[in-house]
Every structure is written in structure tokens, then in C-alpha cells.
């Protein structure tokens, strides 16, 4: 059986978990098996999981699962999987997934593959390596395989499965070794790692005071904002916006790069974006080679034009 850990926020199933479920449902179909979701915690809405691909749902609650902890969650997952004959554990490559998967893999004595972007068959996967500069086909052996799927790699499909819910109550208190003191969520903004559209800018913008038009364009498009490394190093923008080989790796449907040269380290973090648009004064900027659309021109003239058009369309 294929198990998929699903995460939720304010009761709602995260988009990347829906993708993981699609992966799980496809894998179950390919291996002649069924797909079960594991939902953890009281406030998860389990009612839709059949539509996302779950034949069955294990809704796990109990002592030690009131808040996230790597140990508590990994124990909950591993227990459900081993008690129900699981062969695969699919986890999203979210921060939560990245903490849970390695621990669950040890508990289950499983093979572990992270950074997975596609399933090749039941025994092998395709994963990113060299920070998106390459991909590898990796074969996995053993009875249990744990796989983390890169967000935005899998198109969500809709299903019409039963998704019948079995409640599991447990006590994982002894595995909880960390205590959450406080959580600071970025409010009113789309988290970069979850964004489908991203507007990003680099040193070409000359200074932090010029980011207003970038934020506005992002806002009108419903996009998140990102930046190049020097921009965050100079504190023009927060570190959490730094994308690239040493920053965040993203894979949005659209990446608009303004005044970014396209250094190899920057490209590594963004080159998997589905559509890339580059705006740069220098026609020789390396970024144009990685772009789908390009405009050679001054950001201070181009961005206001884009903004005006986007606003026009939004209003109509």
C-alpha cells in the first residue's frame, strides 16, 4: 500500500500535499495497490481527501501530536505504515516533510529518496541533483521506500475515491524531543516556496527604495517576490527572498527576473520554473539564454508598463 502524509493549514489541505497525493495515487495505480492518506492532528479536514486520490484516510491524533515535532510526526507516520503493510511513504518536500521523511525512513528501515520530481516506475524515481543543474534516475531497493516530492512538480488530478476515514488514536509523547515556543507566519504574502508566480529583482534595481514597483507588480499578479543573493546580502531585501543555489530553490509556473544577470548560481535555483521572463538592459546578460520571453530595456521604464497593463487587465 502507498501512504501519503498530508499537511494542512487552518484545516485546509496544502497544495503540495494534494500533489503528493496525486503522486501516491499514480504510484498505487502503477503498482496495483491502493493509496492511503495519513492526516495528523485534530484540526485537519479529511473530508476531501478521496477527491485528491486517497482510497482511505488514517486520521491520527493523540498525545504528542498537538503541535508539529519531527520525532512525534515521524513516529505517527511510521506506526501507521508498519501496522498496515505500507510499501511506499510519499511526503512533500516541504519543511515539514524534510524533517519527517529521514526519521520515518530510519524507523521503517526504508530506502529514502528526496528531491523527487517524477516517478519512473515502482522501483525508481527521477530526482534533482547539483541544485537543478542535472537530474538523476535513482533506483530504490528494499520493502519500504520513502520519497519526498518537490512542490510544484506534479499536476494535481481529481479523483472519485472513497477516502473513508479511520481514526487512529495514539500516544507518541516519548518521541517528542522539541518544543515549539512561537510561530511567526508571514502575513498577507504568498510564501515563496509555495508561489505559482514569482517576481524577482536583482542589483539592477540600484537600491531598496526601488522595490515598490516590484512589490506592486507582484501584488497585481498575485505573485510572491524574490531576489538575487547580493540584494539580500546588502539587506535590500530579507534573506528569505534569496533564491539560487545557496538560497531557496523554487519551481513556479512563472518567474519574472528584473535586473538580474543570470549567474550560474542564481539560475540553479530558478531554472526549473516553467516560464521565465527576463528584463535586463544588457542584451548579453546570460539570463536571456535561460528565458522564454525577454525584454532588453531599462527596468524603470519596462516594469511600470507591465504594471499598467496588468492593472488594466485586472480591472476589466
Amino acid at each position: 500500500m502507498v501512504f501519503v502524509l498530508v499537511e494542512s493549514e487552518e484545516g485546509k489541505i496544502k497544495k503540495y500535499s494534494q500533489e503528493a497525493l496525486t503522486y501516491g495515487a499514480d504510484l498505487a495505480a502503477a503498482t496495483g495497490s491502493s493509496c492511503a492518506a495519513i492526516a495528523i492532528g485534530e484540526d485537519t479536514d479529511t473530508s476531501d481527501l478521496g477527491n485528491y486520490g486517497a482510497d482511505k484516510v488514517y486520521h491520527v491524533t493523540g498525545s504528542g501530536l498537538e503541535a508539529f515535532s519531527p520525532g512525534g510526526y515521524a513516529t505517527a507516520v511510521a506506526d501507521v505504515v508498519s501496522n498496515n503493510g505500507g510499501n511506499y511513504v510519499i511526503v512533500s518536500g516541504s519543511y515539514t516533510g524534510k524533517s519527517v521523511a529521514p526519521k520515518a525512513a530510519v524507523k521503517l528501515n526504508a530506502a529514502l529518496a528526496t528531491g523527487v520530481v517524477a516517478m519512473t516506475d515502482g522501483n525508481s524515481i527521477r530526482k534533482t541533483c547539483f541544485s537543478n543543474k542535472a537530474f538523476s534516475k535513482v533506483s530504490m531497493s528494499g520493502d519500504v521506500k520513502v520519497i519526498t516530492v518537490v512542490p510544484n512538480s506534479y499536476e494535481i488530478k481529481s479523483y472519485d475515491k472513497a477516502g473513508s476515514v479511520e481514526s487512529v488514536s495514539t500516544d507518541v509523547g516519548s518521541s517528542v524531543k522539541t518544543k515549539s515556543i512561537s510561530i511567526d507566519k508571514v502575513k498577507g504574502k504568498i510564501p515563496l516556496t509555495e508561489a505559482e508566480l514569482v517576481v524577482s529583482a536583482g542589483r539592477g534595481l540600484k537600491g531598496p527604495e526601488n522595490w515598490g514597483m516590484i512589490e506592486e507588480l507582484a501584488d497585481v499578479l498575485g505573485a510572491a517576490t524574490a531576489c538575487s543573493k547580493p540584494v539580500s546580502d546588502m539587506d535590500w531585501r530579507p534573506h528569505s527572498e534569496h533564491v539560487g543555489q545557496t538560497g531557496i530553490t523554487i519551481k513556479p509556473n512563472l518567474y519574472i527576473a528584473v535586473g538580474i544577470s543570470g549567474a550560474i548560481q542564481h539560475l540553479a535555483g530558478v531554472s526549473s520554473s516553467k516560464v521565465i521572463c527576463v528584463i535586463n538592459t544588457d542584451p548579453e546578460a546570460p539570463f536571456f539564454k535561460a528565458a522564454d520571453y525577454g525584454i532588453v530595456g531599462d527596468a524603470f521604464e519596462i516594469v511600470p508598463k507591465l504594471l499598467a497593463r496588468a492593472k488594466e487587465l485586472k480591472a476589466s
Binding site: 515521524a74 525512513a105 529514502l112 528526496t114 538523476s136 534573506h239 539564454k289
Partner: protein
């Protein structure tokens, strides 16, 4: 405070990646290896902690003899000693098992690693080690403070940050912003040559994954250029051609 830092040797970030032997092996020819950038942060943080509170920083690398220059650099930055497990790690599980066996009988208050290596991008070793060694785990952290046998760290979460507390011993993985990486100075480089670098043989040779083959991403078709005085068209194309907005 004894701190173990996992150091991995990775291709320099400017490396143009290519493969040999029918795309089954990474082409190391002409490639310069560096300390994995996230591991460099872990090392610097470990030094900051031991300089303030006393104690020793040991680095550990799973790799063949070719990784020693990178390990010497970590010693030059300030680590006191080094352990090399003499094998090429097949995956994160294999590397973590090697590390676990190599440090059996030693005790560390903290184990720090990078949040991932920039070659195989596994992001596995910290989590696996914490489980194998029954230590607490705080993954992808941008701040670490150690006080009274407790560690408080800020970690990245989806859409924000979380402050987390754990008792020692604890495994943490470093994210950008944790600290500014240090550059070795001349004195450090001289001293590094004399520092102990112990080589131990691996106890396991098992791994459940195999990297069968590699490929480079598909080449982008040529870029479609839009005239600057007609820039608005980009928005229209994204809407009609790509249906993105």
C-alpha cells in the same frame, strides 16, 4: 561543549555539470571542490559557540582521500580535529550510518550539518543521524543559542519561521542567515597542517539506493524577444499564450 560538524566536499558553485561513462558518473575533471556552503555556516556557528562557551569542534567527512584538502580548509577555519570515513557515500543513509559508527563511544552535545549539500541535494543526513542517535532535531535553522543544557533555534517553516527549544544533545542543520562564513587566515592555514585528521574505515557498505544515470535539463528553446516600447505585450502573451495570468 563538544560539537561535531558534518562537512561535505562539493563541486564549486560555478561548475558546469557534465557526466561521463554513458551518463552514469559525474565528470570531476577540472572540477574544484569546496566546503559545501551550508556546512561552512554550520562550522562557523560551531566555532562561535565553542569560543563563547568553551569546548571543541570536530569535523567529520565521509569520502576518499581526495576530500582531505577540503577538510584541511575546515581545520584552517578553526575546527580542532577531523575524522574521515574512508569511503564514497552512496546516499544520505549510507553517509549517516558511516558517521554514526565512526563516532561510536564519543559524545557530542551538538551535531551540526548544512541543510543540504549542493551536489546531491539530499537534505537527509541531519534527520537520519538524529533518529539513529536518538537525539533531538531542529532542521533548517537561521539562529542557534545554547544555554543551560538547552538549545533554542529558529527554523524555517512553510510560510514563516518557528522558534523551537530542545534539550541537548541535539542535531541542527544550517540555513543561510545563520552566520557569516569565515575565511581561513594564514595562521589558521599553517596550524591546520598539524591538526589531527584521523582516518577510519567504514563498517557498512550498504545502501538501498543507486544513482543509475544522469541527464542535463532540456535546453530552453530560443528566447522570444519583445520590443521595449511594446513591453505590455509580455503581459498579454503570458495571458493568452501561457494562460498564466
Amino acid at each position: 561543549m563538544n560539537i561535531l560538524v558534518g562537512i561535505s566536499a562539493v563541486p564549486d558553485t560555478t561548475t558546469k555539470i557534465s557526466f561521463v561513462e554513458n551518463n552514469t558518473k559525474f565528470n570531476t575533471e577540472g572540477v574544484q571542490f569546496i566546503i559545501n556552503p551550508y556546512d561552512e555556516l554550520a562550522l562557523t556557528k560551531a566555532l562561535e559557540i565553542t569560543e563563547a562557551q568553551g569546548g571543541e569542534v570536530t569535523i567529520i567527512t565521509v569520502g576518499d582521500a581526495s576530500v582531505e584538502p577540503v577538510m584541511r580548509k575546515a581545520l584552517a577555519i578553526g575546527a580542532q580535529k577531523a575524522i574521515r570515513v574512508n569511503t564514497v557515500a552512496k546516499d544520505g543513509m549510507h553517509a549517516a550510518q558511516c558517521i554514526k559508527d565512526a563516532i561510536a563511544g564519543q559524545s557530542y552535545d551538538l551535531i551540526l550539518t548544512g541543510r543540504e549539500s549542493i551536489d546531491y541535494n539530499g537534505g537527509q543526513v541531519a534527520g537520519i543521524l538524529s533518529e539513529m542517535l536518538d537525539m533531538s532535531l531542529i532542521n533548517v535553522v537561521t539562529s542557534i543559542e545554547v544555554n543551560d543544557g538547552k538549545v533554542t533555534a529558529v527554523r524555517d517553516i512553510d510560510g514563516g519561521r518557528e522558534t523551537v527549544e530542545a534539550s541537548l544533545p541535539c542535531v541542527l542543520s544550517a540555513q543561510k542567515e545563520l552566520c557569516e562564513p569565515r575565511i581561513p587566515n594564514m595562521r589558521g592555514i599553517m596550524q591546520a597542517r598539524m591538526k589531527p585528521l584521523e582516518v577510519v574505515e567504514p563498517s557498512v557498505d550498504y545502501s538501498a539506493t543507486n544513482y543509475d544515470s544522469y541527464e542535463l535539463p532540456a535546453e530552453k528553446g530560443s528566447v522570444k524577444l519583445i520590443e521595449a516600447n511594446n513591453a505590455e505585450e509580455l503581459i498579454d502573451l503570458l495571458r493568452t499564450e501561457k494562460k498564466l495570468i
